[in-house]
Amino acid sequence: MIEIINLCKSFGSVVAVDGLSITIRKGELFGLLGPNGAGKTTAVRNICGLLRADAGSVQIAGKPPTDLSVRKKIGLAPQNLALYMDLSAEENLTFLARLYGLSGSRLRQRTDWCLDFAGLQPRRRDRVKTYSGGMQRRLNLAAALMHDPSILVLDEPTVGVDTQSRTAILESILTLRDRGCTILYTTHYMEEAQRLCDRVGIMDHGKLLALDTVGELIQAHGGKALIVLERGGNEERLTTDDPLDALSQLDWEDRPERLRIEPASLESVFLNLTGRGLRD
């Protein structure tokens, strides 16, 4: 469905994307992870045809993303809230829908669907600037769905929202995946990617470091599980490839007051691949 081949993009001397190659299958929910400044947003802008690549190519259903017929298939929810704050939710949605050629009953139907999807029906005529951050995020996502795209590109769609809104957004994304939508999802929240994504690509410094299913990535790069025991006020930490085997070998006569097992996760994969150094 989406084929990215050896994509390169630099801004002056800064290499933002360096030889990125990914194939995203139809109906797949693909997560693109990376720390701040890894090149995710630049890659997304290249994939959507908003930036001209220095080298390499992007093909969506066999055509470049700059092709107007391809554009109609893509819905983009950018990282910034790309909404007109002085218009209402309804006005924002109908304006965008008209640009995609929607009118009449189809326009009304899609507007209602998107407002329901974002949970904004009761506030549909209020100006967007009066909404909470979570409402604005949900509308930002709904605006990308107005023309019923088959490909959805979500660039960090849950940044800065509360738990309720985040849960609502994640459930909505799963609903869309179940409806057959192909989704490219960028985030630096590991638990979101682990919960949602069929496959995950991890990139840093513009390069793709790993690409696989979450399970396979953990297996390959997650490292050992951690067993934490508390006895007599002291904490013992054991690392092991096989937590069950390690537990069976413990001295259970001196029973621990507390026990916690921390299995390898996508977060440990991420940290193992990208390091623990701070990013700007």
């Binding site: 802008r45 959507c48 908003l50 930036l51 001209r52 107007l68 017929s69 554009r71 109609k72 893509i74 819905g75 983009l76 950018p78 990282q79 910034n80 809230l81 790309a82 909404l83 007109y84 002085d86 218009l87 006005e91 304006f95 965008l96 008209r98 640009l99 995609y100 050629g101 100006r127 605006a143 990308a144």
Partner: protein, 430 residues
């Protein structure tokens, strides 16, 4: 084209949500047209004898002659001037303390009118104008000299006609001078001939008006456009086009900022994902700007027509003028937006560029107060062309041919700005 309209309508809808936009795009230009109209009516009215304000002048009469006292009475009778008769030091002080725009000193010997018969002769008086109040000072200068000429003429006519015996003798002397081929200066000879003619006509008038001396010459109050004595009716056709220019300036600045804001805030990115070409996107903004320029101008014109007597000799030509000006301003908007990377930069660049153009183009400062070099520059400023394109059908009775240079200039400039703006925008986007 449908998509360009959808984009433009969205922009107009967004613009209408800002109260300040309504103020700057409509209320301010209307206020400008009306208030500046009233202010200008005072200054222009002076030139046609319909000045309604007063300018304070301190006068020190050091001559203390009958002639100087008569002249002072003449000055005091002028409704345009408020005369303070004081001594010389007080007169100077009143100007220094800004209580008067000028002081006039009538030196000793002012009453001797021999200077009148001397080519290039000057009266013994001195007018000193406050340098910070040049405009008012020039009004005073004009009024003082006008009143002086008026007074001198009536004074002489009275002197001549009061004593018929003396008149006959003087006339005989003049004739003798003129009949004999003397070495008289030709200018003086001409003055004597003129004086004799005037004398003759005065006597004829007296004989038909029962012996009353004729009144002095009146100031011209009628010349072409000033037929109905309503100076404001002549000024508003100047200030309303200027108000329309202000509306267009603010529209151009607003949409330039709006375009850069869309780029900075990400809405432009969303729009670029729609099945639109980049040119369509930019043209949508340009069309919104053009529609705003036209809409506000037409609204202003409607106010002017309904309440201030604005008329046009050709509404077709006026529409052509408005369209070409709107195209030019929207083109400038595109160019200014393309040169700015942040909304703050767009605001700074747009407002400073447009205000400088307004200043040089005559939308802010009347051309009459500009130094010669600024007037020369003014001819090349598109705002001047836009003013001419609007004034042409409103008060200058321009034909299509006379409108053409301004309208073609504006159109070509607008299109050139569009081409450069779109090119730079594309360059900076990638």
């Amino acid at each position: 084209m449908r998509n360009i309209f959808i984009l433009a309508l969205k922009d107009i809808r967004v613009a209408n949500r800002y109260k300040l936009v309504a103020f700057f795009h409509f209320v301010f230009p209307v206020l400008y047209a009306i208030l500046v109209g009233y202010m200008m009516s005072g200054i222009v009215g002076l030139g046609v004898g319909m000045y309604r304000g007063t300018v304070s002048v301190a006068v020190a009469d050091q001559d203390q002659s009958e002639f100087s006292a008569g002249f002072l009475r003449q000055l005091q009778a002028a409704k345009e001037l408020k005369i303070h008769q004081v001594d010389f030091d007080t007169a100077k002080d009143m100007v220094r303390r800004r209580r008067c725009a000028a002081h006039l000193v009538l030196h000793k010997g002012f009453g001797s009118t021999s200077w009148l018969l001397t080519p290039g002769g000057q009266p013994r008086m001195r007018l000193v104008i406050d340098e910070a109040r040049i405009a008012e000072g020039q009004i005073v200068r004009g009024m003082v000299y006008m009143q002086l000429m008026d007074y001198v003429r009536s004074h002489f006519l009275r002197s001549f006609t009061d004593n018929p015996e003396q008149n006959a003798r003087l006339r005989a002397v003049f004739r003798a001078y003129l009949d004999v081929d003397t070495q008289l200066d030709s200018a003086l000879k001409q003055q004597l001939i003129d004086l004799l003619h005037t004398w003759q006509s005065v006597e004829q008038t007296q004989s038909t008006s029962g012996g009353q001396p004729p009144s002095g010459p009146t100031l011209a109050t009628e010349s072409g456009r000033f037929k109905d004595n309503s100076i404001l009716r002549q000024i508003f056709p100047i200030t309303f086009p200027q108000g329309m220019i202000w509306a267009m300036l603010f529209s151009a600045a607003f949409y330039a900022i709006s375009l850069v804001e869309e780029r900075a805030e990400g809405t432009l990115q969303r729009l670029r994902m729609a099945p639109l070409t980049r040119l369509q996107l930019l043209l949508g903004k340009g069309l919104a700007c053009m529609m705003n320029c036209l809409g506000t101008s037409i609204a202003l014109l409607a106010v002017g027509m309904l309440f201030f007597g604005i008329r046009s000799n050709s509404y077709v030509l006026l529409l052509i003028g408005l369209l070409s000006a709107a195209l030019s301003f929207s083109g400038m908007m595109m160019l200014l937006a393309s040169l700015s990377k942040t909304p703050a930069a767009a605001e700074g660049v747009s407002l400073s560029a447009l205000l400088i153009m307004a200043m040089l183009g005559g939308a802010m400062v009347p051309e009459v107060v500009m130094p010669p070099f600024a007037r020369t520059i003014s001819s090349y400023v598109p705002i001047k062309w836009a003013i001419m394109a609007m004034e042409g059908p409103i008060r200058r009775d321009f034909s299509l041919g006379e409108m053409a240079p301004y309208c073609v200039g504006l159109t070509l400039l607008g299109m050139a700005c569009y081409v450069v703006g779109v090119f730079v925008f594309r360059l900076t986007e990638d």
